[in-house]
Symmetry: C2
């Protein structure tokens, strides 16, 4: 008899968020689940790791019989601690999310949810990041759960490409209105940043990061395009940042 | 008469580090310099941005007549604040570093130094991250300064590919012993993580992240290989994480 898969669940919104509870529900259909997730919101933490102070790991009883820990670090710290100090082996599957808010396009770089999945890819663990285009704490995750279940089944049945994770985004729609799932590339879109400058009680300035997300070329095969047209998007994601196309023009530098 | 280039200098070791002072010295040979850098060490912060609390920006007089600010945020926050609240335009060149410690291979993802440069690439600002393989606070940056000067001159003379930054690493060698500069790809190498588990005064565990960096395939055209053989490495770096090679095998998923 084969063992059921060992599944690590993490996120960036924190161990108490509705999104991670929804993902644990899905994961329990497929295998043995262990949760290691941040003890506080870690949105926008990207691929940060904690090297200047030590980390804490605290057992929590939040998921009805599931072994779970809250961690004082970042999402990437959670993956490293889970593999090396909790499981003492690589899990068979890593699931990150469900994020409250989408992580399409270049948001993959800022996202703690996706950075946990990218860390999984670096460890060559089949990994998914799931994000719903709804920031609300009580968002309806049922459509995302349906998509996640389908994709996890595909990964278990067909396997995953090596050193790759899946960036899965789901539109804010009832499950019955999601048109399907599309395999996509990362859209070429960026934040047009703005700062909201205010003054504190001493007259000293402080700045809140804000802005608009602007798409510069929304071809039909991008994640943003799929999402705008009612589809869930899946971008196979890797971590080699080399710009191979730049080698030819850089010959001119003669180095 | 053309204006001299406007150059933004930032880093992740903090505005008071020797590395950034060494880079400002180089930058001043090429144009008008503005410094916006973290008020404390931000190594390992990756592409983190600060969204849950506001940011502070404080003028500092550390670079003999150069407009400079310390920022309470991450290296990527520094770039965003510099462009939108300090310069009110994109600089002509962004220089990040000089980092105390190398950022070859997948360290590009963890590195605050390189994430600032990648943020520059997203803004389509010609950007460099410079890192010296020497963690010491009083490291000798003269070899790195020599390499940086050569590469900045190339960028100004020949131009840079769009939406690309350069990940430049320099071996710990006297300037005269650096064999040359090699254009490279990112090596396929990873941290074999370990945690040093200790107990505090109350008997509660805490964990320090540590580990060894392991190279899985060190071909002669990688940054790690160049560095190991006495060359400075230059990896043209971009931010599209799509794994295009995965589309073919993923046809099997029928999504």
């Amino acid at each position: 008899m084969t063992e059921p898969p060992l599944i690590l669940v993490t996120n960036d919104d924190g161990v108490t968020s509705k999104g991670i509870r929804s993902l644990v529900e899905v994961a329990l259909k497929f295998g043995k689940v262990v949760v290691v997730a941040p003890d506080k919101p870690q949105s926008g933490m990207g691929h940060a790791i904690t090297i200047s102070h030590p980390l804490r790991l605290t057992p929590v009883d939040l998921f009805d019989g599931v072994e779970a820990y809250s961690c004082s670090g970042t999402p990437v710290d959670c993956v490293k601690l889970a593999v090396y100090e909790v499981m003492h082996r690589k899990p068979d599957l890593l699931l990150s999310g469900i994020n409250h808010g989408e992580n399409t396009s270049t948001n993959v770089l800022y996202s703690g949810t996706m950075s946990a999945a990218v860390e999984g890819a670096m460890e060559n663990i089949p990994s998914f990041g799931f994000s719903l285009k709804d920031f609300h704490a009580d968002a309806d995750f049922s459509g995302t759960q349906m998509v996640a279940e389908q994709l996890i089944q595909k990964a278990l049945d067909k396997g995953m490409p090596n050193h790759t994770c899946m960036n899965v985004n789901i539109p804010k729609l009832p499950a019955s209105e999601i048109k399907g799932i599309k395999l996509c590339k990362q859209a070429h879109a960026f934040w047009e940043d703005r700062f909201d400058k205010r003054e504190d009680q001493f007259g000293r300035p402080y700045y809140w990061l804000t802005g608009n997300f602007e798409c510069q070329s929304n071809e039909a095969d991008t994640d943003l395009y799929a999402m705008e047209h009612g589809y869930a998007s899946v971008v196979p994601t890797q971590f080699d940042l080399t710009n191979y196309k730049a080698f030819e023009p850089l010959k001119d530098w003669n180095i």
